[in-house]
């Protein structure tokens, strides 16, 4: 495998973890965060700083950074899970921009605009790949658990959900914190792969990009969201040769999907043993019929 392909894949896998988090938040629960990328920044900076400044063990630093992000997520989640849709976007947006500004200003700690350098490289393609698979696996289990069901229920009808005894605020908070943990973890992997991080690139546009990926692949399907994230995060990298045209290509593709296949590439289809068996069955059935003709 060439170094270029390996590089692209590693970054794509790291993105997949964050998008799995966005799937939990937006796909399952129907909340929009325009500040999600800030949690990636928190994960990256916290784990990087713990290793660089305190010479902490890599694994421990990653775990601690995720916990720190979750703690911050709990604070910001308090208003978020109680507000209506557009207000959630606003609060998370403001939060994200504030974190960006903070990272820029606290030069003594973060290196300011020139970024945090000298982070040892501890992450390669294998770890990124295993992490992505594990993250997606956890989210898949989450989706079919009581939590996932309650998320989908309250996404459609909060009042009816409450009438069934669902503690809407608590379930939303659980989903929010899970997505924060995943995003922060992807941030930690990011900094130990790039061995460098600066405050740019964690703004609301990054968060919006993740939401677009989820919708592109299928907002009601984890498999679809993952596929969407894979395609859309690999695309700009593979289209490097096209330079400035790549974002236009990207936008046109997404607009086509939104207009002509609003449920996303895969709709609600999930990659489960049962569904695969059914699809194969349908395929062989079709072939048999053709042969009979």
């Amino acid at each position: 495998m060439s170094a270029l392909v390996s590089n692209i894949l590693t970054q794509v896998f790291i993105t997949l973890i964050a998008v799995a988090g966005v799937y939990v938040l937006t796909g399952l629960t129907g909340m929009f965060s325009l500040g999600q990328a800030a949690f990636m920044a928190i994960g990256a900076y916290a784990s990087g700083l713990l290793v660089v400044r305190l010479h902490m063990n890599f694994a421990l630093a990653v775990v601690l950074s995720v916990l720190m992000a979750v703690a911050v997520g709990y604070l910001i989640g308090y208003p978020v899970v109680r507000l209506r849709r557009d207000y959630i976007s606003l609060v998370t947006l403001g939060f994200g921009e504030a974190i960006g500004a903070l990272l820029n200003r606290m030069t003594f700690l973060t290196g300011g605009a020139s970024g945090l350098t000298g982070v040892p490289r501890r992450v390669g393609l294998p770890l990124a790949c295993i992490s992505a698979v594990a993250a997606i696996g956890l989210v898949a289990f989450f989706k079919t658990s009581k939590y996932g069901r309650q998320c989908i229920a309250l996404r459609g009808d909060e009042l009816a959900a409450k009438a069934m005894g669902i503690n809407v605020i608590r379930v939303k908070m659980t989903a929010f914190l899970l997505s924060v943990a995943l995003t922060a973890y992807s941030g930690a992997l990011y900094v130990f792969y790039m061995s460098y991080v600066d405050p740019t690139g964690f703004g609301w546009k990054k968060s919006a990009d993740w939401v677009i990926m989820v919708f592109f692949g299928g907002v009601n399907s984890l498999t679809g969201s993952t596929l969407g994230a894979f395609i859309l995060s690999a695309l700009p990298q593979m289209l490097r040769g096209l330079q400035n045209y790549r974002y236009v290509v990207y936008a046109v593709l997404v607009l086509l999907i939104l207009n002509f296949k609003p449920s996303g590439l895969l709709g609600e289809w999930e990659l489960t043993p049962g569904n695969v068996k059914r699809s194969i069955g349908r395929l062989t059935e079709g072939r048999r019929r053709k042969e009979e003709k």
């Binding site: 658990s145 009581k146 309650q150 989908i152 009438a163």
Partner: protein, 254 residues
């Protein structure tokens, strides 16, 4: 003390007095019908009892516990089940998952079980599925577990909603116009179903309904509402004879 006790509740929205001094006492096995013209505040009564709104004054007791100011989901967990006028099943979930949603708040596994198939999770899910099948069987919808409710008929959706409400293990069941939109055969089946669960499970049922043949045939007691006020309470026969009720429904002859 009765299973459900509502004492003199009032509720206003701005200048509109939606409920004025409503009281009810309902015990296990009883069916109470609430009737009245559109806009009489019937659904508001349900919303206030079940915690969507908080009463301006008055008290509500469920099984002896004061629930007047509790949050909606807590009231449900104490034993309040309900259905909605305009069926509100959850989109994107199968029939089974819809009913399971009412079990999930009682399901005893933690976030760890939410992320991994722990033994506790498997056991609880199994327990939930069994209960779910039990209630779907009662309403006669057991063969539709994996279907999406939106692909089923209106009458079937009503039944699923009742099964979902039963899954809350209610001590009081609020049915908001369960016969709306059903054809005569379905109304017959529904009447039979309500009677059956009332006997079999043994809880208090409050029933809002415009189909008088249904309410009159199964209610033990009928409360007639008009413009937020209770204008009559009595057995179906008493209510049928009541002059004020006839006027409220048919208008006054001058």
């Amino acid at each position: 003390m009765a299973l459900l006790e509502v004492k003199n509740i009032h509720k206003s929205f701005g200048g509109v007095k939606a409920i004025q001094d409503f009281s009810i006492e309902a015990d296990a096995g009883e069916i109470h019908g609430i009737i009245g013209p559109n806009g009489a505040g019937k659904t508001t009564i349900f919303n206030t009892i079940s915690g969507v709104y908080t009463a301006d004054s008055g008290e509500v007791y469920l099984n002896g516990t004061q629930i007047t100011k509790l949050e909606q989901y807590k009231i449900t967990r104490l034993g309040m089940g309900r259905t909605f006028q305009n069926i509100r099943l959850f989109q994107g979930l199968t029939v089974q998952e819809n009913v399971m949603c009412a079990f999930d708040p009682q399901s005893r596994y933690t976030v760890l079980g939410g992320l991994l198939p722990t033994p506790k999770r498997l056991a609880e899910e199994k327990r939930g599925k069994e209960l779910c099948e039990k209630y779907l069987e009662i309403v006669g919808m057991k063969d539709y577990l994996k279907e999406r409710p939106e692909n089923l008929s209106y009458g079937m959706q009503r039944r699923i909603e009742i099964a979902r409400a039963l899954m809350c293990e209610p001590k009081t069941l609020l049915l908001d116009e369960p016969a709306a939109g059903l054809n005569p055969t379905e109304v017959g089946e529904l009447t039979e179903l309500i009677r059956r669960v009332s006997k079999q499970i043994g809880f208090a049922i409050l029933l809002i309904e415009h189909r008088l043949e249904l309410v009159m045939s199964i209610s033990d007691l009928i409360h007639v509402q008009n413009f937020g006020k209770t204008i009559a309470v009595g057995t179906p026969d008493e209510v049928r004879q009541n002059q004020e009720v006839i006027e409220a429904y048919l208008g006054k002859e001058d």
